[in-house]
């Protein structure tokens, strides 16, 4: 089943802001086995010029996935989650995310297209503090394998 093209341009806002905590950052850094002290130790982070411990560069995917999650569970989008794989991911940072940030996420469906037998959907998420300071923009390309409609029989 092809993805519903009517969803192009649709916008999803996080129902509540995400509070970035030192404990969650440490848990995420442990999960990627990255021992860098700026993720754990405030003095190390301050010595590197940061106001508090910073989050690993891919940490904002937690908020991006919440945004994408709102879109992809909508049955009218007709996206087969079981056949979905991650195609591309991009982050553009204004600054590193850090403990104490309270983050809003606004996700837009920016592209839906077919490529061969696959369906491709691109989601862009803008992550900013509740005060309005931009932190990072994420772009997430998802591929639904064998999602395209079969070519018309001749």
């Amino acid at each position: 089943m092809a993805i519903n093209r009517d969803f192009l341009g649709r916008v999803y806002e996080s129902p509540q802001p995400y509070e970035v905590t030192r404990g969650k950052i440490r848990e995420f850094a442990d999960a990627i086995s990255d021992p860098n002290p700026v993720y754990r130790d405030r003095a190390s982070a301050e010595a590197a010029g940061h106001a508090d411990v910073i989050a690993p560069p891919t940490f904002p995917i937690i908020m991006g996935m919440e945004g994408a999650g709102q879109a992809i569970v909508d049955p009218d989008l007709r996206l087969d989650y079981s056949m979905m794989v991650h195609g591309e991911q991009r982050f553009s940072y204004s600054r590193p995310m850090r403990a104490g940030d309270v983050v809003n996420c606004v996700t837009t469906i920016t592209e839906i297209k077919s490529l061969g037998r696959n369906e491709l959907i691109t989601l862009k998420s803008e992550l900013s503090t509740v005060e309005g300071e931009h932190i990072v923009t994420t772009r997430n390309l998802l591929v639904v394998r064998d999602g395209a409609e079969p070519a018309e029989q001749k």
Binding site: E27, F28, D30, A31, I32, S33, D34, N36, V38, Y39, A47, A48, G49, H50, I54, P56, P57, T58, I61, I62, M65, E66, S82, M83, V85, H86, G87, E88, Q89, R90, F91, S92, Y93, R95, P96, R139, R145
Partner: protein, 142 residues
């Protein structure tokens, strides 16, 4: 931001030290919990095979996180990262044994930009397959 690498010391063609990162089933379970991505194909062999995969595969975002360490360990301060983008070109297949899979990551400086920024092209391989392609990081050096 205090990068440990100086812009003046880097040329186009400068190679980052190659790194090898282990990817075991336990790593994927931990990553699922920390990230909130509980897609079955990252921990359930039965379901992974049922949807046509050779075995459990790593989260793309776990692979991206490990490959990013090549750059953030090189510059010292992860806050020096300006952009980071990857294309997932093949899955990292993770067998159910103590060793798991290995991710071999290499990087080379391909461009020097203004404002002390450089572009690093990143390649990651696992079991001989290129798992990240056309992947780049832009970092601001000291």
């Amino acid at each position: 931001m205090t990068a440990n690498v100086r812009y003046a010391d880097v040329e186009v063609g400068t190679e980052l030290p190659e790194q090898t990162y282990p990817v075991r089933r336990l790593d994927l379970v931990r990553y699922a919990g920390a990230s909130g991505d509980f897609n079955d194909i990252h921990w359930n062999e039965r379901i992974a095979k049922a949807v046509g995969l050779p075995n459990v595969i790593a989260h793309g975002m776990f692979t991206m996180a490990e490959a990013g360490r090549l750059v953030t360990d090189w510059v010292g301060d992860p806050g020096a990262l300006v952009e980071y983008g990857v294309r997932f070109s093949a899955p990292v297949v993770v067998p159910d044994d103590d060793k798991g899979a290995e991710l071999v990551v290499t990087g080379v400086v391909t461009e020097k930009r203004d404002d002390n920024r450089v572009v690093v092209a990143i390649t990651a391989r696992s079991a001989g397959a290129k798992v990240l392609a056309r992947s780049t990081a832009v970092v601001r050096l000291a």
